[in-house]
Symmetry: D2
Subunit: 244 residues, 4 copies
């Protein structure tokens, strides 16, 4: 079995056409720049400087507050019980479970909570979260979710790609835990659930993957592209930690 085929099997998002896969294909260059960013490559081969990863971890912590606010906004904007519940579980999971894990993980990398709370959001960080929140307030639930997909579904794709890529170093890679978390079964399942959430909301809002003539695709693509570019800039920020 060659690596191409194995990749398809390991990569759930590529299995069928979804709103996410449609947007990803429509913005393939921006997507590739994000998914295969130098930061990701250096995570994969373990060459990423420690201070870059630490900077990334701190910014991700600051990011998660506003990311949670965005999912809370998704609850607020939900009209159907399944959407309310789906979004609500994200909000609680992030704030009352994953954030604690993240703080623990930061501790393993020598970052303590005092440091976490004393750092400022970087521009790349602030630009992305406030963009997502503004999309959510300006538009509807679909606009909000699309702005979130490059993060929630992109990380799953990156994890999956890294795990299935023979160039990835696992043994002795200081970033092994990061790779195995995001490539792992639980994270992949979460991504599929999110993708289905997006598809369900899209359908109710009149967007069908079988109808490419709908004029709203234009703004959805623009939204997806902008959010994807902002994710790339988040990686870029990671490569440039502030000198202390």
């Amino acid at each position: 079995m060659n690596i191409q085929i194995q990749n398809k099997i390991n990569h759930p998002a590529s299995k069928k056409v979804t709103v996410f896969s449609t947007l990803r294909d429509a913005c393939s260059e921006d997507w590739a720049a994000y998914i295969n960013h130098k930061f990701v490559q250096q995570l994969g081969d373990g060459s990423l400087p420690k201070k870059c990863f630490q900077h990334y971890l701190i910014q991700l912590y600051l990011f998660s507050k506003h990311y949670s606010r965005a999912y809370a906004l998704a609850v607020f904007k939900s009209e159907h019980l399944d959407d309310l519940r789906e979004a609500a579980s994200h909000v609680d999971l992030q704030l009352n479970y994953e954030m604690a894990l993240h703080v623990d993980y930061c501790a393993q990398w020598g970052i303590d909570m005092d440091q976490l709370d004393s750092w400022q959001e970087s521009d790349a960080n602030r630009l992305y979260t406030r963009y997502v929140l503004d999309q959510g307030m300006t538009g509807d639930l679909l606009d909000l979710l699309i702005a979130l997909t490059p993060c929630s579904l992109g990380y799953a794709e990156i994890g999956s790609e890294l795990l299935s890529d023979p160039a990835t170093k696992i043994t002795g890679n200081p970033y092994r835990a990061w790779i195995e978390l995001h490539g792992g079964h639980e994270f992949q399942e979460g991504a599929q659930t999110m993708s289905q959430f997006v598809d369900r909301v899209a359908e109710r809002r009149g967007i069908s993957i079988n109808d490419s003539t709908n004029k709203r695709w234009r703004s959805l693509k623009e939204n997806f592209r902008t959010a994807t570019q902002m994710e790339s800039r988040f990686w870029e920020m990671g490569l440039h930690p502030p000198t202390l």
Copy 2:
């Protein structure tokens, strides 16, 4: 020239298919109940008790604060310059021009500002404006505008219908000014501009009047129907002034 033909000429909204006319036709029973409400009929033949009209005027004043907030929300939710400008002109017009006219008109009916500020919003009033505002926050610009159309476009249709209806009493009707305002050229033009605004936003949001299969029509109709029913309840409230 028979009255049917005259009606068509005087009634711009009926001339062509718009998002508004599509929704109106889809909710024709609810629409008819609103447009031909007993309150409207009594405006037309001049038989409406004075205290009912006074109650209506007071509630309309209280209504206009939140109605203006809804148009302000439309500015906030606009992404294109033409939409921003269109909505902005409504906000200023209502708060800094029409409200003063309304206060003057109330004075002619023996209602002074002290009274205006001491009255409470009636349930029917509060239910409608808060519904519109919640639609606007939950959904996108189109959802917000659709919730507003039964008011902005319905009043124009009522005015036009009353003016062209031979049963309407003009001379000696104490409500003549109301009828002539809402049936008049300026108000009809404003309604056409609003209808075009809705059509433009709908198109950008992927809703075409030529594609009835779009699943979002369902929620748009539900929204339009709810707002229309709330307008009927506003008339109903007018018929039942509080006893003092």
Copy 3:
């Protein structure tokens, strides 16, 4: 030990001065009308007609969707991690735990999910939730939380009062489970946590219970009073089920 003293012991909210207790005392008549409403009395002595309670349960289910949206808005509007987490736990608890319990409880009262989803929000219901959501959007986190307290803290007080009132019938009372739930330890603790949440946010927003001269107390009281009156109307609605 007389019942007065026992009442004080059982009634945690009365133990010390809080923002909630200050507002409750400032609106004591409206508060008493809500807490001692005929609906509550009939819960206590078991005389409430079954169809009234069923109507109430159905409306409470419809209420809980928008109540959860209000807590989601509290997450969105939180700037501090403790507030984010506190509000987030409410959102998930309500949507992914309590709602299921409520549906089970409804089933015990002969109401199935099909019925739940086919009922319309009553006016009293819709007026209250949309009021809370509009307060939250118009004001800050404190305005939002104050509009929620008559529900979250009032139900705890009602449960506690009923449990400690010798006139309350426990054995054989069909509403025993309701009384024991809301008067029980877990619910009382939840109310105390909510009260502390309100106090913490109030302090950050410049409201101190030791400074009664702050001009913002006026709008906070108005807000609390309106929300309390809307809770009374919710009970009133319960006493008047629609005839089918």
Copy 4:
């Protein structure tokens, strides 16, 4: 008469203690860095490179869309008629009057509308407007207005300072129109009205300039400081036009 005294006379904002002057004094270093930015100095002596000013003008045009949305949000968040009207007049003024003037002014500097609409918001631009909008959604009307003051009141102070500064070159300065607009009577009056608007809202929200112990001052100062720093970065951006 020395220049110090003349300055006081020409500078209305300094005449009495306001919420704005209190915040400005509390953030005096950040404020000075903004008011006396190199970009401002080069406007004053006419040495600013043309391409810097053109870049600034284009970004200001893009800025004004979201700045208008922020004032629309102020309408939405207003509870009192005077606030509704004050904010509404800003929205309409900006979108339907000042924007046209700005487009004309851009034309004089060789920038046409096609260029205006093809440019992207710079980071410094986007960071500021989205910050203001997020403050407005997270907080109350006062939080929103405070985030706007460094722009609306700062530009008036800069204009006034430049006009009264003997180092300013008027005759032959290509930026003379800019200086005379912002230092002129109409703009100064507009700033005073805005400052009074802030004071009125602050008072209703429980903030008194005579009570420095109110804990909310802390977040108001933080807000003001952040917005002021973002204004400095807007100038900084102006100094670094993209190479084409």
